[in-house]
Amino acid sequence: MNPRLTRRRFIKGVIYSSAAAMSGAGLYLTNAQSQSGAAVERLISINVNGRTRRVDVLPQETLAHTLRYKLDLTGTKLGCNRGECGACTVLIDDVTNYACSTLTHSVRQREVTTVEGLRSPDGQLHPVQQAFLDELGPQCGFCTPGQVVATVALLKSNPRPTREEARQALSGNLCRCGAYDHYLNGVMRASGQLS
């Protein structure tokens, strides 16, 4: 288990997941017109990809919704919107989370990293992105941002994973095209184990 994933954090995650699932009801939305959020401050600051962003967030709003539709960070994909596929995986304080199952209000004091935040300031691809490109990891690419982000998290905690460790770490990220072998090759290349 990831040492940063504490029991307390896990339980909180489950609570948020339930809340998000209830509020979303299978839809990719939350909306200002139909919900009142008077009890909670709505204009909040969140740290995304190293920048502080002021954004109007509803109490029941998921991080995926905020990222995609308010901050135009559409690299975070919604494949299921209910914590099944992993296409919306982002890092919160370097730990992978499903953005579809995380309430935006819960990340106010945290650092959120999306796939768009991985490039270096000079535009260089992140080593994981470069490795995935070299191995042509994606097929359709819809799950790829999630796979990339999950790999970045893996290599932070385990810089030289075995192939078995890598597939365990990425197992929360579905790829319907079945590009698993290519993604694992990407992990091995990014960790310097494949030249």
């Binding site: 990719y28 919107n81 042509l136 097929q139 359709c140 597939r167």
Partner: protein, 801 residues
């Protein structure tokens, strides 16, 4: 043959966007003033909407409009209409509400009052076929030729016939499709081994990871449509027809698609909703569906209930096959039984064969093409049955397959037509060696509760078409613009196929730019990206377009520098005199001359035989360079087969019923390798799909209420990282097909068929030859078998437990 580009890896230009998140899928596109539509779907499996009361919904703030079936052109029946008052499955769209937000649209749906008259329904084809059983439609349960062509009819079997079929015997009943070749009785008479088995395969959803989305808007009478289809140019004509507009009134934009697997080859019905609502409201309208709705609206593979009798001659040759398939056609009645039977003719080459089939409507989700429709589910159950026959004859399973393998002289399908080429024996030999078949089958098999199973299976799908168009444009700066009408569904075939043009032009890949993803950019008429056909079909089309460009450059050079076109060659992006290479023109100079010359050189004129869409495309780019444009009129004689063989080693735990796939080798027989990494994706991805069919994926319906019981990814589970081998291996025969200029055929679907066959073969092998005759094989089935509980695999139940 030595190529510049064919057979070499490259980085497709869209790949970086996929790993950075910059790639734009349909739902990523926004437009000023865009509004949203949500669908109200059927809560019942069968019925008729008698009244819709939308008064309260339309009064809500933010609600902009409603679209019902009455607002759309009448759809053919039975079919898969965008909206319908006749309800034939749970989840069928009834109406759409447009609002300024999805939430408001969804809230408004809750205020709609429907008056629905319920009808009888059925979720299992045999429950409909049996005398007295319900029909999915009032008029019947099958399509049959009548006085007015194909029409709905009621087909019933006697109770005895259904019981006979359920118990693994020929029901001696009526079918709607039948074909045969050879003398079946005489062929069976020659056999020393005859195996007779029933079988069942499950239907299941495609689960493309991108839920389908469309967004459209209208400007100056033209519709700009963002879609999420597998295909690009193949969408234009049917989508224009759907919207009731001319081809030049549609701009179809589809840069990236999150998977398709057959479910998005052409426009899906609810695309009409976006188009009509956006026209009615004069605002951009986006419609996207949820993961749950993908189960209903996304279509699915047809399941099969079947019976098969196979006869082997003493030497192991397959002499006779008698096959019956009842397809679960869902609400659209679509089945692939004949394709299933065709696959048998290819892979095992029986001397005589008969197929009888019927596709029965059920009140379940619409059925459509899904990766190897018909063929792959056939391979799933066929492999263990053939293993049983070979084992009874005492013959090695690989040697048996090698003996019966197709080659370039083989005849296939009901009409016993020719193939363009086939090298299946070479594939078998390569795979057996790579997998180390002999060592694997001779290893110790049992270790405590664990038992090793070794399997082998084959896959086939027709893999190539012809008659489509190509466009190549050489800019006045010498840059090569490769116009592709191929969709970007994740196979990289849009890029792989234009490499044939780059190859013909002998130009640097760095100097090429692929033009794609937006029909206003001038994209040629293309096939749909389904049926494994793209590689064969569009390497040909790109090749002929490049040849047209080369011919025009030679004409220009000959006119300016003297001599005839035969005196000229190309190389290093120049057209030059073969005898005196210093005399020539660069591609840039040739393109400049073409623009000055106009006419056919610049695209101002074009061939008469190209498709209307290609003509429109050429009109868009005319005058911007030298335009090579041509229809693929190259010879094509026979079916271009995609063939594959796979080997699997599994370790089954008899205590839990679970198995791990320890080793997997897939061998492609798809002509020349065009793009090695693309082929790797096809083979491994197909392998993963095969493993999903073998062990996990299925529809389950509640027979009492017609409700789908598994509508989540975890309930009808695609394989995860942990369900497939840690490493998958593949290779390809890499022998050219003579009817492709670069030797290529397709492989996407056989890559799955061989995998599911190899895994089901391995499961049977692990259990000492026990046949479940069913996919998916789940752990409870294994445990029941091991515990000697009678697993009821001969009831032929489908969609239910």
């Amino acid at each position: 043959m030595t190529y510049m580009h064919i057979g070499k890896d490259f980085t497709p230009p869209d790949a970086e966007g996929k790993i950075t998140g910059a790639a734009r899928y349909a739902e990523d596109h926004r437009k000023e003033g865009m509004v949203f539509a949500r669908l109200l779907t059927s809560p019942v499996p069968g019925g008729m909407v008698r009244n819709i009361d939308a008064t309260e919904a339309l009064r809500m703030d933010g609600v902009l409009g409603i679209l019902t079936a009455d607002d759309l052109p009448e759809a053919p029946r039975p079919g898969n209409p965008a909206l319908s008052n006749e309800l034939t499955y749970v989840g069928q769209p009834i109406l759409a509400i447009a609002a300024i937000s999805e939430q408001i649209a969804e809230d408004a749906l809750g205020l709609i009052r429907l008056d629905i008259e319920r009808r009888p329904f059925v979720v299992d084809p045999l429950d409909s076929l049996i005398e007295g059983g319900p029909n999915a439609y009032p008029e019947g349960n099958v399509m049959r030729r009548g006085e007015n062509g194909m029409e709905l009819a009621s087909l019933k079997w006697s109770t005895d016939a259904v019981e006979s079929f359920r118990n693994g015997r020929d029901p001696q009943a009526e079918f709607t499709t039948e074909w045969s070749y050879g003398d079946l009785d005489a062929a069976f008479a020659e056999c020393s081994v005859i195996v007779e088995e029933p079988f069942v395969t499950a239907g299941y959803p495609h689960h493309s990871l991108e839920p389908r989305t469309c967004m459209s808007y209208w400007e100056n009478g033209r519709c700009y449509f963002h879609g999420s289809l597998q295909s690009q140019s193949a969408a234009n004509a049917p989508l224009a027809r759907m919207l009731g507009i001319e081809l030049d009134q549609l701009c179809f934009i589809n840069e990236t698609t999150g998977g398709g697997f057959g479910s998005r080859i052409g426009p899906y019905p609810f695309m009409a909703i976006s188009g009509y609502l956006s026209r009615n409201l004069n605002r951009p309208v986006q419609v996207r569906i949820t993961r749950e709705e993908e189960f209903f609206i996304g279509s699915a593979r047809s399941g099969m209930q079947g019976w098969m009798k196979v006869g082997l001659k003493p030497d192991g040759k397959v002499a006779a096959v008698d096959l019956i398939i009842v397809n679960d056609g869902g609400s659209t009645g679509s089945g692939s039984g004949s394709s299933s039977a065709g696959a048998v003719t290819v892979v095992y080459q029986p001397t005589a064969m008969r197929f009888r089939g019927v596709s029965v409507f059920t009140n379940t989700t619409p059925r459509g093409a899904q990766r190897g429709p018909g063929q792959n589910e056939m391979h799933a159950v066929l492999a263990p049955i053939m293993d049983k026959a070979a084992n009874q004859l005492g013959m090695d399973r690989v040697a048996f397959r090698r003996l019966n393998a197709p080659d370039s002289n083989s005849r296939i399908d009901a009409n016993q037509g020719p193939v363009t080429s086939a090298y299946m024996r070479e594939a078998i030999d390569m795979g057996a060696q790579m997998f180390d078949w002999q060592a694997k089958i001779n290893q110790p098999r049992r270790n405590g509760s664990k038992v090793i199973g070794i399997g082998v299976g084959q896959g086939y799908h027709a893999a190539g078409n012809n008659g489509f168009d190509g466009i190549v444009r050489i800019g006045t700066d010498g840059k090569i613009y490769l116009h592709s009408g191929v969709g970007n569904l994740g196979t990289y075939s849009y890029a792989g196929t234009v490499r044939a043009a780059a190859e013909a032009l002998q130009c640097r890949w760095e100097n090429c730019e692929i033009v794609r993803g937006n029909s206003d950019l001038g994209l040629p008429h293309s096939s749909g990206q389904g049926g494994s056909n793209t590689m064969f079909t569009h390497t040909r089309a790109n090749w002929v377009a490049a040849q047209d460009a080369i011919a025009k450059m030679k004409e220009i050079a000959a006119a300016e520098l003297g001599g005839t076109v035969d005196d000229y060659s190309i190389g290093e992006e120049r057209v030059f005199k073969t005898a005196t290479p210093a005399e020539g023109l660069t591609y840039a100079e040739a393109a400049q001359r073409a623009v000055a010359l106009g006419g056919r050189y610049s695209g101002a004129e074009y061939p008469d035989d190209i498709n209307e869409l290609t003509a429109l495309a050429v009109q868009k780019i005319a005058g911007t360079g030298l335009v090579g444009v041509a229809k693929d009129n190259l010879e094509k004689n026979g079916t271009a087969p995609g063939l594959a063989i796979a080997f699997a080693e599994i370790e089954m735990d008899l205590d839990t019923g679970k198995y791990e796939i320890l080793d997997y080798v897939g061998i492609a027989e798809c002509g020349t390798i065009v793009h090695p990494k693309g082929l790797s994706h096809g083979m491994n991805g197909g392998g993963v799909w095969g493993m999903g069919m073998a062990g996990f994926e299925r529809h389950v319906y509640d027979p009492q209420n017609g409700l789908p019981a598994n509508i989540g990814l975890y309930q009808s589970k695609p394989p995860t990282f942990l369900d497939v081998p840690v490493q998958m291996r593949h290779a390809a025969v890499d022998l050219p097909d003579p009817q492709s200029p670069v030797g290529a055929r397709g492989i996407g679907e056989p890559a799955m068929g061989c995998a599911v066959a190899a895994v089901t073969s391995a499961i049977a092998d692990a259990l000492g030859g026990h046949l479940f005759n069913r996919v998916p094989v789940t752990p409870d089935m294994v445990i029941d078998h091991v515990a000697q509980n009678t697993y009821n695999n001969k009831s032929l139940k489908i969609n239910t437990f």
